[in-house]
């Protein structure tokens, strides 16, 4: 199962899909992939940044949705602060 997580003030919101089933054309799995893609695009429009995570590897920034990713984490838009 693949998971998309969007960090927010509520903690993360997770959305999962089965990439293997989607590859076989399963309608339910394809719908889950489309929903994940929609969430991804919406978050990116708000200025959020997406990263693909894989065990033992550094995070890789994603500009486009990757349905084959094991885990995608979307972090909120950031700016410079005072941090006092």
């Amino acid at each position: 199962m693949s998971t998309l997580r969007v960090l927010s003030h509520l903690g993360d919101e997770a959305h999962s899909w089965d990439a293997a089933r989607a590859a076989t054309g399963d309608p339910e799995a394809l719908a889950a992939v489309r929903e994940a893609e929609r969430i991804f695009a919406e978050a990116r429009e708000r200025g959020a940044t997406a990263f693909r995570l894989a065990p033992g590897q550094p995070a890789e920034q994603l500009d486009k949705f990757a349905p084959d990713a094991e885990q995608i984490v979307i972090v909120p838009r950031v700016s410079g602060g005072s941090g006092s």
Binding site: M1, R5, L7, S8, H9, L10, G11, D12, A14, S16, G47, T49, F51, L53, P58, A59, E60, Q61, V73, V75, P76, R77, V78, S79, G80, G81, S82, G83, S84
Partner: protein, 145 residues
């Protein structure tokens, strides 16, 4: 007789609770996760991504060290509580960085945000951050090499 009835009722309640939990897990994977507080969920996610040992170190030491992907010998020290990220080179503190999210997120999610931004696009992280000298509060600019 009453004790028997009580045990029967307790067993029924436990069975019902288990059934609801099991059905919920099947229908909505990860739903017990959604019942946790935002901070607890953020902590669980950070623990999952860092791994148990690195997460334990973070809790014990109060910071997470992320090596620079592009500059040898540089480490970013991310505090577990909100605060400035320290830039450490060859063991010495050389600057402090401040990057804040547009909306509040739990502390553990903030640690994760810093880590992912540094690993995924260090140059942009440094452009966005406000830079402060090691000892004082005076800002020294937005860009740090």
């Amino acid at each position: 007789m009453r004790a028997d009835l009580l045990i029967l009722v307790l067993a029924a309640v436990v069975a019902m609770a288990w059934l609801v939990w099991a059905l919920g897990r099947g229908r909505w994977p990860g739903w017990p996760h959604r019942l946790r507080s935002p901070a607890a969920r953020a902590d669980a996610l950070l623990r999952q991504i860092l791994g148990a040992e690195e997460y334990r170190h973070l809790v014990r030491r109060g910071y997470l060290d992320v090596p620079s992907p592009t500059i040898a010998g540089r480490v970013y020290r991310i505090p577990y509580c909100p605060g400035r990220v320290e830039v450490i080179e060859r063991g010495g503190l050389v600057a402090r960085l401040c990057v804040v999210p547009a909306r509040w997120v739990p502390d553990a999610d903030l640690v994760l945000t810093h880590k992912l931004l540094i690993e995924g696009d260090e140059a942009r992280y440094l452009r966005v951050a406000n830079h402060f000298p090691p000892g004082g509060a005076r800002r020294i600019g937005r860009w740090y090499p």
